[in-house]
């Protein structure tokens, strides 16, 4: 049975496969060539063409004394580094700075009181003296009514 199967397999293996059409080679490779050319063109526009220009511009700018420019750049970097290291940006400092001073608190309270008085006096003017009467405790009000 196994031998029979092997013979069958061999027979199948000997069946020649159809050949790829010859004209496909150029068609497919030219299609891939277009893709490759487009890729290179894009890459060239983006990077390869602009890189030498940038290099030329940089060398023209730095040409008289590149070491002096490098030294200046190093000084700037040092200044930035010192500036960053000297700055204290810890949360404790921020908290301290954001807390208002005692004078400011007193001032604020005075302003609040003044505002309350102003609002209070306006309300008094609008409603008349009965308002002050109403402010008495309810128990006293009842006693007064009984006595009257």
């Amino acid at each position: 049975m196994n031998e029979e199967m092997e013979r069958f397999e061999r027979r199948l293996q000997h069946q020649p496969l159809r050949q790829v059409p010859i004209e496909w080679r150029e068609e497919i490779l030219s299609a891939t060539g277009k893709v490759g050319t487009a890729r290179r063109a894009v890459r060239g526009r983006l990077g390869e063409a602009s890189l030498p220009k940038f290099r030329d511009w940089l060398s023209a700018l730095l040409w008289p004394n590149p070491q002096a420019w490098a030294g200046l750049a190093a000084v700037w970097i040092l200044i930035f580094a010192m500036n960053f290291s000297a700055r204290d940006t810890s949360p404790m400092v921020a908290e301290k700075n954001s807390r208002p001073s005692s004078e400011a608190v007193v001032e604020l309270r005075q302003q609040q009181r003044l505002l309350a008085e102003l609002i209070g006096s306006r309300e008094t003017q609008a409603t008349g003296p009965s308002k002050t009467f109403d402010r008495q405790p309810r128990s006293e009000r009842g006693f007064e009514m009984m006595t009257t």
């Binding site: 020649p16 159809r18 080679r25 497919i28 891939t32 490759g36």
Partner: protein, 173 residues
């Protein structure tokens, strides 16, 4: 500058295998051409695709297999009668002047078309690419046992389909 793969060399080295494999799976010459072109365009677009690949043939066959499965899925949702159509499509075998041999090849092509795509892929790679089950498993990214069982089922079905013709030809020999 990093250079891409040599597409001409790749085409000359592998296009015949890819063509036969794709044609056996799609049974359509236009689809085969489109898929073959897509594979090479993919390689042209992404030259790093083959970087570090040890077995170029296996990698390209995997690309071809995945592309075919994608195509069949796309078609499957759109056209349910596609499989019937592909069964009547082009044979993956070269025509033969001998009528008996030609009859056998036509019958074999029809029997192969009856197999599910996954079994057909394994049978093709084993019989006409000469890959081992381990290589097939690596290429199609399936377990080795699955590759072996798909092959056995596929071969049994082919034998069943071709038995009358095969027995007759054996007697004649």
């Amino acid at each position: 500058m990093r250079r891409g793969p040599d597409l001409r060399r790749l085409y000359d080295g592998h296009s015949q295998s890819l063509y036969a494999f794709l044609l056996n799976l799609t049974r359509d010459e236009n689809d085969t051409r489109d898929l073959l072109q897509d594979i090479f365009i993919k390689l042209a677009r992404d030259p790093k695709l083959l970087a570090g690949v040890r077995d170029e043939r296996a990698f390209l066959i995997r690309l071809a297999h995945n592309a075919t499965i994608d195509l069949i899925r796309r078609r499957g949702t759109r056209d349910k009668t596609r499989e019937q159509f592909t069964a009547e499509g082009i044979s993956p075998f070269a025509p033969d002047a001998n009528p008996d041999e030609q009859t056998f090849r036509v019958a074999l092509a029809d029997a192969l078309a009856e197999l599910p795509t996954e079994q057909r892929a394994v049978v093709h790679l084993k019989l006409w690419e000469g890959l081992t089950f381990e290589e097939i498993a690596n290429t199609l990214e399936i377990p080795q046992n699955t590759a072996a069982s798909r092959y056995r089922y596929g071969l049994d079905k082919l034998r069943e389909c071709l038995r009358p013709l095969y027995d007759e030809m054996k007697k004649a020999e």
